[in-house]
């Protein structure tokens, strides 16, 4: 199925969790925050939250800014 990950279409298997997605893209959960369909997903829910077709996921981190 297709999801939108940081604004780009990505193909993922069904029953894929947010944790599975992070493993696949090689991102550690420590220094990021995640939004699923414009709602923040707490880190404690990464393993249990399954993705669905057309889900919009944002993976964000802190960068330099003023």
């Amino acid at each position: 199925m297709e999801i939108m990950l940081n604004g780009v279409v990505k193909e993922v298997p069904i029953h894929f969790s947010i944790k599975d997605l992070l493993v696949e893209i090689g991102v550690s959960a420590e220094r990021i925050a995640i939004e699923l369909n414009k709602e923040v997903v707490p880190k404690s829910e990464y393993a249990c939250r399954q993705l669905h077709a057309a889900d919009q996921i944002e993976v964000i981190q802190a960068v330099g800014g003023g």
Partner: protein, 269 residues
């Protein structure tokens, strides 16, 4: 020496700070320079932005948060947001990223040329964030009415611009800044527009509780040296404000005694 200055803390919400200089982390050559400039500035509150993780990057790529000095207070911003909804989303993400940290810098921009705030959207976003228990430090223009409204909504600090973000023009409308300060019951900080240490000192002499800056340090030829200069400018301006400046006079007032001089007396021409 009196200890008036030593006891003079910046109070933001429930927290107090020795330093009245707040610095950003953008536009530096690298994270090492960012860190060195923050240390030289002795700032205790440091802003960061939130952006999409670059998913093409290598694993274990350096992260800004790992370079920031121990013990600083992070101030995540909503830079780049042009709508109330986006700014609120970014603050909620920041709270999760920073494990429940609720201090945020709200800015909702109006257009990319001026980077002036969209004050209508800013007021709306401030209301939502305050209702969600964020401590909101809010970037706004130098309009005293809007500044007061943001305070009444419950923002912990109101931060009018000195001049457009990144312009380095200095305090362009000191009269409005003073009016905002006179009306305020929360700390007023100048956010954006200072270019050099004297600009920071002027803002503090006007009675600002602090100054937030990024470009003035990061785009200096020697950012670390400028960070130190800004620290001194802020301290000088604050001390001058507390000391109370002398009145201005149109004509001269001799500093040496005018009596008993051997020189021939000169009356006014």
């Amino acid at each position: 020496m009196s200890n008036v200055f030593e006891d003079d803390l910046l109070q933001i919400g429930q927290h107090s700070f020795q330093s009245r200089l707040l610095v950003g982390t953008g536009k530096y050559a690298d994270f090492e320079q960012t860190r060195a400039a923050i240390i030289a500035s002795e700032a205790e509150i440091v802003t960061v932005a939130l952006r999409r993780t670059n998913l093409g990057q290598e694993k274990n790529q350096a992260n800004l948060l790992d370079y920031l000095p121990e013990g600083i207070t992070l101030l995540p911003n909503t830079a780049g947001c042009y709508t109330c909804d986006d700014a609120v989303r970014v603050c909620r993400l920041a709270r999760d990223l920073l494990s429940g940290h609720n201090l945020v810098k709200l800015e909702v921009l109006g257009d990319p040329t001026t980077l002036y705030p969209d004050v209508v959207a800013t007021l709306k976003a401030a209301e939502i964030l305050v209702s969600e228990d964020f401590d909101v430090m809010v970037y706004t223009n130098d309009d005293p009415i809007v500044a007061k409204q943001l305070e009444q909504i419950g923002c912990v600090s109101v931060m009018p611009l000195a001049a457009p973000i990144g312009s380095g023009l200095g305090v362009c409308n000191p009269h409005n800044i003073v009016t905002i300060i006179e009306n305020a019951e929360v700390p007023i900080l100048v956010d954006a527009g200072v270019g050099t240490a004297s600009d920071a000192a002027i803002a503090m002499e006007l009675g600002c509780q602090g100054v937030l800056m990024n470009t003035a340090i990061a785009e200096a030829a020697d950012p670390v040296l400028m960070a130190s200069a800004m620290k001194h400018g802020i301290i000088a301006g604050r001390q001058a404000y507390l000391a109370g400046r002398m009145p201005k006079r149109r004509n001269a007032s001799a500093s040496s005694p005018i009596e008993n001089t051997i020189a021939a007396r000169r009356d006014r021409n």
